[in-house]
Point group: C2
C-alpha cells in the first residue's frame, strides 16, 4: 500500500486547517497552550496521563472555555506498574545522599503516582461525557471495548507507534491515524514494551509506516520548524507533531530552570535516561541524567514508581535553587527551540513550511 493521494484526509478528519500538531507533553502542556495552537489552526494537545479523571475533566473544561476548535487529549496506556519493595527501598537508599545535599530526606516509600489508562475506567467515563474531539494513546492501546466506546462517542483516535510492529497493532485496533515517533523525540517515546525498542529515526520510521499502512501517518521526533514539517509531508506524513518546539512557549507550565536550559547551551546535548521516571526518556543532560548514568546505580523501580522519587528529589533541590534534577525532556534538535507565544509560533511554522515548499519548486524544472 502507498499513502492516499489525497493527503488532506487527516486534516478533514481532525477538523483542523494546518498540518501542525502540538505534542501532548504531560507536565508541560496547559489549557492555554493547547487552546492557542487550536485557535491558530493546528491541533493543540493536553497530556492528562499524570492526572486522575477529575483532573482531566477540569483541564478539558478549561481548554474548551478557551477554544471552540478541536483539541487532543493524550493518555498513557502502559502496563500498570508492579511494585517491588526491595528495589524501591534500595533506590531510595541510593538517592538519600543526594536528598541530604539539599537538606532533605527521601520519602519513606514510593507510589505508583498515576494510573494507566488501561486501569482507569473513570477516565474513560470522563471522555465519554466530555467528548474531546480527539484522544491519543501513548505506550500502547486500550481494549477493543474502550476504543469502540470512544469511537461511538464521535471521538477521533490517534495511536503512537515507534516501529512497524506497533503500527500494525494501532491500525488493527481501528484507530484513525498513527503517530510515527522517531528516536529524535524528547521525553518518553510511545514504545509499547521498552525491552523491544528498535530506536528508529524519524526519517526511516515515517517512510516505513507511510509505505506499509493506508492509515494517515503523523511524523514526530526532531521536528522544530517549517522546514521540518515540509520534510515530514514530503515523506508522506499528513501532519507533523512538534513537542520540544513548543516547550519554551510562554503558555507552558515549565519552571525557569527548564526554560533556561532549553534556550541555553544545555539544549545542545540530550541523552536517554530511565533514572528519572523508571522508563527510558530523552532529557537534556543535567545533574539527574548524570546521577542516573552511574554504573553503580541499583535497579530502577518500575515506571512511574521511580518518578515519585525523581519528582521528590527535584522538589528538594529546587527548594535550594538547584534546577538540575528536573525532568528536562527535550528532543535531539532542542537547540533549534524558540520562545514565541504559541499562536505566533504556529503562524511562523506555516510561513516557514510554505517557504520550504517554494524552495523545492526549481526541481520541477
Amino acid at each position: 500500500m502507498t499513502h492516499p493521494t489525497d493527503n488532506r484526509t487527516l486534516l478533514r478528519l481532525l477538523g483542523i486547517e494546518k498540518p501542525i500538531i502540538q505534542a501532548p507533553m504531560a507536565g508541560v502542556s496547559t489549557p492555554a497552550l493547547a487552546a492557542a495552537v487550536s485557535n491558530a489552526g493546528g491541533l493543540g494537545s493536553l497530556g492528562v496521563g499524570a492526572m486522575n479523571a477529575e483532573g482531566a475533566r477540569k483541564v478539558i473544561k478549561e481548554t474548551r472555555a478557551l477554544t471552540a476548535k478541536p483539541f487532543n487529549i493524550n493518555v498513557f496506556c502502559h502496563s500498570p506498574a508492579m511494585s517491588n519493595e526491595a528495589v524501591e527501598s534500595q533506590w531510595l537508599k541510593w538517592l538519600a545522599p543526594h536528598f541530604e545535599k539539599y537538606g532533605a530526606t527521601p520519602p519513606a516509600s514510593l507510589w505508583e503516582i498515576y494510573t494507566s489508562f488501561l486501569a482507569d475506567p473513570d477516565m474513560v467515563e470522563v471522555f465519554l461525557e466530555e467528548k474531546p474531539a480527539v484522544v491519543s494513546f501513548h505506550f500502547g492501546l486500550p481494549t477493543a471495548e474502550v476504543i469502540a466506546d470512544l469511537k461511538k462517542a464521535g471521538i477521533k483516535l490517534l495511536g503512537a507507534a515507534t516501529n512497524v510492529h506497533e503500527a500494525a497493532q494501532v491500525a488493527a485496533a481501528g484507530v484513525d491515524a498513527i503517530v510515527a515517533q522517531g528516536i529524535e523525540a524528547g521525553g518518553h517515546r510511545g514504545v509499547f514494551d521498552p525491552a523491544l525498542d528498535d530506536r528508529l529515526g524519524t526519517f526511516a520510521l515515517t517512510r516505513l509506516l507511510v509505505k506499509a499502512f493506508s492509515l494517515p501517518v503523523i511524523a514526530a521526533g526532531g521536528i522544530m520548524d517549517g522546514a521540518g514539517i515540509a520534510a515530514a509531508l514530503a515523506l508522506g506524513a499528513q501532519a507533523a507533531q512538534l513537542g520540544t518546539a513548543f516547550v519554551a512557549c510562554p503558555e507552558t507550565s515549565i519552571d525557569d530552570g527548564y526554560r533556561r536550559a532549553l534556550l541555553g547551551d544545555a539544549a545542545r546535548r540530550t541523552t536517554f535516561t530511565s533514572g528519572i521516571s523508571g522508563r527510558i526518556a530523552r532529557s537534556m543532560v543535567n545533574k539527574f541524567t548524570e546521577l542516573a548514568s552511574d554504573a553503580n546505580a541499583p535497579k530502577t523501580p518500575e515506571y512511574p514508581i521511580a518518578y515519585d522519587a525523581g519528582k521528590s528529589l527535584h522538589a528538594a533541590a529546587k527548594a535550594k535553587g538547584e534546577f538540575g534534577y528536573g525532568a528536562q525532556w527535550a528532543g535531539q534538535a532542542a537547540a533549534l527551540a524558540r520562545s514565541l507565544p504559541a499562536a505566533e509560533l504556529v503562524a511562523q511554522l506555516e510561513r516557514e513550511l510554505k517557504e520550504s515548499v517554494r524552495e523545492l519548486q526549481p526541481l520541477l524544472g
Copy 2:
C-alpha cells in the same frame, strides 16, 4: 547562519546534475556501480578504505574507463588500531567453537587488515596522481597538509559528520561539503570517536547542521526513495546520499546471502553490533549479530583487527553454505530496498523526487 538561498551550489561544485549521491560502501560498491550512477547524473562513489594504494589506483582507473563523469573516492580516517595480543587471542578462543561448527579453525593471530588513510602516504600519492573529482572522508579527517595538497590538485572534498561538534571540525578543515549521517544509516557511521556518539537521527542532524553551517550539507541515513530525497532537500540539504538503496543493484559485489536477506524478511530488523569489525555498525540481524550480542562475549579487538576474525568466520561458514556470518550492513529502512540496475534506480529516484515535490504544491494555496 542559514543555508544559502542558492541550493544548487553543491551540484555545480561536484559537476553533477541530480542531488543524488550513491554512498561509497567499501566492500559493496564497484567501478560498475559508481560509473552507472555517475553516468545517470548522480555522484557514484567507491569506498577504497579496505584497499591499499595500488588497489585504489586500479579501481579508479576501472571506473574512469566506464565514465567520463565525476565520481567520489572514500577513505577511512580512523586512528590506526592498537594491537592487544591478549584481547585478540581471547577473542579467537571465544570464536573457536563457531569456526569448528563449520569444520574450520580460527586464524592463529589477527592483523590490522587495512591501513587508515591517516597512515597511508601512498594513498595520498595515488590521489594526487589520479585526481578523482571528489574524495570523501569517513571516521575523521586527514591532516591540514593532506587536505591542502588534495585541494591544490583540484579535488573536491566531502567529510562525514554525525553531530555538530564533528561538523565544526569538517568545516574548519576547509572541506567543501558536510555529509550529515544519521543513526538510520547502515554499516559504520562516520563517528570520529565511537565513545562520543550522540546517535542523532537523520532528521534532527540534517536540520541542525543546515542551520549551524554555511557549507552545503548532504543528508544520509534511512533515505531509500525519491520521497526521502525530497524530505532531505526540504530540510535544507543540497543532496541526499543513499547507501542501502543501492546495495541490491546488480552492479554491487554482494553475495547471494546478503542479497536474499536484504530483499527478504531479514531487512525488517537491523541492529548495532561491534562484534563483526571492532567498531559499531548497523547490520541486519543475523547469526553474527546474535553471537556478538552474547553478554558473556570477551572484549572485542580494535577496529579493523576484529574484522580479520569476522571475515574469516564468514568465509568458513559460507564454504559450508551458511551466509549468516556476513557483514550484512543495512540501514533502518532496508525493507524499502529495491533490486534495479543503478541507472534505472537513479531515474526512478528522480521521478519519485519530482512526484513528491508536486504533491506538496497544494500547500502553496
